[in-house]
């Protein structure tokens, strides 16, 4: 290994500061004993967290967000199973184009998706509610679910399915006794990532939410009141922590699923998991 030059080291440090310094401000001010967000710090307190605990509206927003995230994550993972299975197991005309379009929402600007969905909902005469947010979130979470599940399905050795059938077990039995247990880590990983994305998502939720605001929308609403700012910092700190934990768990399961399904292909040709 070559030794990195000092300049490159400096560049890397600055880059990481740029990425993470703002996020480090969250815990600093969340524990700061002052209603004003500025230095110097005046002391340590847990008051802002207690304030969160006592705010009713926040509880409702949290409840909405969690419910929306659970439903959206479940639906997008379920849809992801079908797409991932089709993309990795079967050949059909236009496969590349179709799978490409399935993943497109990852790069579409959310504001465009949000506005477009709002127009459609209004045209359909649907009143905005937590369910419309669920629909929007399924739309943006499904591509991620497809990507994660495809890597789980792709590294899955076809001969395992054949071996199961060969031993007298039909297609449905094979799905439950071989395929499902082996891709379960992938399912968990997909669910957790979709859950995190939905929980943190603001723009689409902002457009599609009715009276049941989600947590990010609630936070945005609180920013108008300078006095609430420290408790928003505390809330932000909690959300970042929760997201990091969920993503770490998801990554653990994703790696396990790849390791799991790759055992078989070790002595044949082993290809790195790539998506599509």
């Amino acid at each position: 290994m070559q030794k990195a030059s000092k300049f490159l080291l400096l560049y890397a440090v600055l880059y990481f500061l740029f990425l993470y310094a703002p996020i480090f401000l969250l815990p600093i001010f969340a524990f700061n004993d002052s209603a004003i967000i500025s230095f110097p710090l005046s002391g340590v307190t847990l008051d802002w967290f207690f304030l969160l605990w006592e705010t009713e509206a926040l509880h409702d927003a949290l409840y909405n967000s969690v419910m929306i995230a659970i439903i959206a994550a479940t639906l997008s993972t379920a849809l992801g199973i079908f797409a991932a299975r089709a993309a990795t197991r079967y050949d059909f005309p236009g496969k590349k184009g179709i799978t490409g379009f399935l993943l497109l929402p990852i790069v579409l600007p959310e504001i465009i998706v949000g506005v477009a969905l709002l127009v459609v909902m209004v045209q359909l005469g649907l009143s905005l509610s937590a369910w419309t947010v669920v629909i929007g979130h399924v739309l943006i979470c499904t591509p991620f679910a497809i990507v994660i599940l495809s890597s789980a399905f792709k590294s899955f050795d076809m001969s395992l399915e054949e071996a199961s059938q060969d031993l007298g077990v039909g297609k449905i039995g094979t799905f439950f006794r071989v395929i499902l247990p082996m891709v379960t880590p992938g399912l968990i990983s997909s669910f957790l990532i979709a859950f995190t994305i939905s929980l943190d998502e603001f723009i689409i939720a902002f457009f599609l939410t009715g009276t049941d605001v989600t947590l990010p929308v609630y936070i945005w609403g609180q920013l108008r009141f300078p006095a609430r700012l420290p408790s928003v910092m505390a809330l932000g700190f909690l959300m970042v922590t929760l997201s990091l934990i969920l993503l770490a768990i998801a990554e653990y399961f994703r790696r396990r699923s790849v390791k799991y399904t790759n055992i078989e292909s070790q002595n044949t040709t082993q290809s790195e998991e790539t998506i599509f």
């Binding site: 395992l160 060969d166 055992i263």
Partner: protein, 366 residues
């Protein structure tokens, strides 16, 4: 000798398989007998694996039919066929331990848990894995995985066990040991084994009969001895071991014998199975071990030809020579066991090579 029941268990009738525009199998027919160790041998792409997958039900013939134990297998899915397969990758279920893998197919059979346990232990004992039941799949070596795959298939008591290149992932030593063991196992359980392999030595060592396949067609079905001694054509002759080919011309032919003039070797008379047209050209095959380098100068009545060593490969117990016959550039392979009084000859050495009538095989090319 164990008794071989002569009736066939698998009937393959004029089977053709097309993958798109590629014809993988072309009008293949064969009968596999009850209780025999049958091998499908051929280079990669010859259709042997496709044929095996059709017997197991993972592929369906484009035309033709396959029946097992007297029943047509048309529209019978793999899970309802009386066959079990050992996959090339072994396909051990990674989320199950050894006993769960071996007992996988028993769950369907509604046996008592005592009976299941008994059969699992029996199967593990059969493949020499007693006590490995609780091992996790990923903690197994290549050889152990193969044994698990075998036990998992045999526990189902299939009428036919199918093996798809089961030894190709093992190293040489283990492979040779497993060849003997598979053969022993097959004789113990008495089940018909159908093996797919591209390794001619493996097929020769293990099989009762071998079907040699090239480009989607069966070239010859025979016992190992007959395949080696009397190959039907040049392709089979050179796929199974090494064969020298010498052109010859028919002088006189009857139903029982044929007099031929073999290039550089001279005129000789061989037993024949059919009548040849006088003057027609045929090919004579000679195995390298049927030729002998003459070290002693007393040539006696032996038939010999002069030769010059062009290359030699030393294998310890054996030396393989390539010699040029007489003053021609016709090459011949000669293999010699390295015993007392047989020094290894260097390239360029002039010598005599002895042959006999018995060592010549007429190879039909039609």
């Amino acid at each position: 000798m164990r008794p071989i029941e002569k009736h066939s268990i698998i009937e393959i009738n004029n089977v053709t398989k097309d993958f798109g525009s590629v014809r993988a199998l072309n009008g293949v027919s064969m009968q596999i007998k009850q209780g025999e160790f049958f091998s499908l041998l051929g280079p990669s792409g010859c259709g042997k694996t496709t044929l095996l997958r059709m017997i197991s039900g993972f592929e369906t013939p484009t035309s033709g039919s396959i029946s097992i134990a007297g029943e047509s297998m048309e529209d019978v899915p793999p899970n309802l066929r009386p066959t079990n397969m050992v996959f090339q990758s072994y396909a051990i279920f990674p989320h199950l331990n050894v006993a769960e893998n071996v007992g996988y197919g028993l769950k369907k059979l509604k046996l008592s848990s005592d009976e299941i346990e008994g059969r699992i232990n029996e199967a593990l004992k059969l493949v020499d894995l007693t006590g490995y039941g609780t091992r996790e799949a990923h903690a197994l070596s290549g050889g152990q995985r193969q044994r698990v795959a075998l036990a998992r298939a045999l526990i189902m008591q299939p009428k036919v066990l199918l093996l798809d290149e089961p030894l190709s992932a093992l190293d040489k030593k283990l492979r040779e040991a497993m060849q003997v063991e598979l053969r022993r196992l097959q004789q113990t359980v008495g089940i018909t084994f159908v093996l797919v392999t591209h390794d001619q030595e493996e097929a020769l060592v293990m099989s009762d009969r071998i079907a040699v396949m090239f480009e989607g067609e069966v070239a010859q079905v025979d016992t190992p001895e007959f395949l080696y001694r009397e190959p039907h054509n040049k392709q089979v002759a050179s796929f199974i071991g090494v064969m020298n080919f010498v052109p010859a011309r028919v002088i006189k032919s009857s139903l029982k014998s044929v007099e031929i003039e073999v290039e550089t070797l001279g005129v000789t008379k061989l037993p024949a199975k059919k009548k040849y047209l006088a003057g027609s050209k045929i090919t004579i095959g000679i195995r390298p071990e049927m030729l002998t380098i003459v070290y002693e100068k007393k040539l006696k009545q032996q038939k010999t030809f002069e030769a010059t060593v062009s290359t030699r490969s030393y294998f310890g117990d054996m030396t393989y020579y390539e010699v040029l016959i007489g003053n021609t550039d016709i090459k011949a392979n000669v293999s010699m066991r390295n015993t007392v009084g047989r020094p290894v000859l260097e390239p360029g050495t002039k010598t005599h090579v002895a042959w006999s009538n018995d060592s010549l095989t007429i190879i039909d090319e039609n």
